[in-house]
Amino acid sequence: MEMIKIINLHKSYDQLEVIKGIDLEIKSGEVVCIIGPSGSGKSTVLRCINRLETPTSGHIIVDGKDIMAPETDINHVRTEAGMVFQQFNLFPHMTVLDNVTLGPIKVRNMGKTDAEELGHSLLKKVGLADKAKNYPEQLSGGQKQRVAIARSLSLKPKVILFDEPTSALDPELVGEVLEVMKQLAAEGMTMVVVTHEMGFARDVADRVIFIDQGIIQEDNCPEQFFSSPKNKRLQDFLGKVAEH
């Protein structure tokens, strides 16, 4: 079953068209990595899926609901499609536990005790059970991002959108975040991951997509994608990445 269906998506900022017609289907349980040069529009596509960016035209259907339809409750769609940000965006005035329980309490109207029980179990899942009472600024980048993943899981979403989740991390902290993401993938979570982590894409993704100049240039299984890319731009891109 399709979890996400994107039909002929366009997005312009004033005169500048950054997304020039994208069609994409993502099945339930699939892990799809999106790679591409900076400015290629890959993050924009992701941010259109939960309508943090409003598409200029086209349709996006998330779990059967057209996010552009007037009758669709976008806040409900966002509980079904969680998001993890490059800059974590934790709430600095709340404890780690409060960051994770805010959604369940204020969106789902869950009782405080139940929400905290859920919060503790999610923090345990990301390996941060002992940090519940800490404030975000007391955590390392990797820990912050794991809290952000726990927060996105707190509404029991059907899909999680990752927007360059490891790009703001020190190199030695990338691994702990990728581990949590691998674990989620193994549990069958549907994931769309915009990333520069080629290793992760190769090992964990079911499909890898290359976006450049606002369109999908290649969409393939990781083996084919990395070993025998058909698209010329992708060949150049992988060549440049490999040099480093």
Binding site: N75, F85, N89, F91, E137, R151, S152
Partner: protein, 223 residues
Amino acid sequence: MEFQFDWPVFFETIPMLMRGLKFTIIITLGGLGAGFLLGAFFGLMKLARHAIPRTLAIIYIEAIRGTPMLVQAMFLYYGLPMALGLRIPPLTAGIIIIAVNSGAYIAEIVRGSVQSIDPGQAEAGRSIGLTRGKTMLYIIWPQAFKRMIPPLGNQFIISLKDTSLLMVIGVGELLRTGQEIVAVSYKAFEVYLAVAVVYLVMTLSIARGLRILENHLEMKTKR
């Protein structure tokens, strides 16, 4: 005749000023309390998506900031009754003027503080399904409020001092009380100095109180 500072008059004046001080404090606190509500309301309105509330907020803010408070006071107390046919008591008028006046400045403080919060915070709030209102209430406002404290403290001090202008509409506040004492004693130097000292003690106390509050809030998130 050589001028001689009259210490006994200076010290006797201070307790006599307390009656006026009471009104100064009532007007300042009442006016700023209402002014904060007005400021929060219009400050958020200025950030609205729709043009109508935005325009209303701009009209209010610009009209108040662009005219002297003394003129606003005269207009409200002497001008408006001519049109409406009802007279507002001086104390009430004083509170309204401070509220409306400080509200315009506080609206800009609120707007600036809210806008200074990283847009990623609102995105994170919206991404977990919070409505705009709840995102403001639970995520943006608490963070913005912390940033409002220093400029609000500044406005507190300004409004406190501005209450002295209300003597023109006959509010028996601190300066007017001083003026009444001078009318009897003719000791203008000592009395107005005493008045100034009372203002200074209050403004310095507010500044100090705010520093303590800021440090306290800083500690709370750092721990």
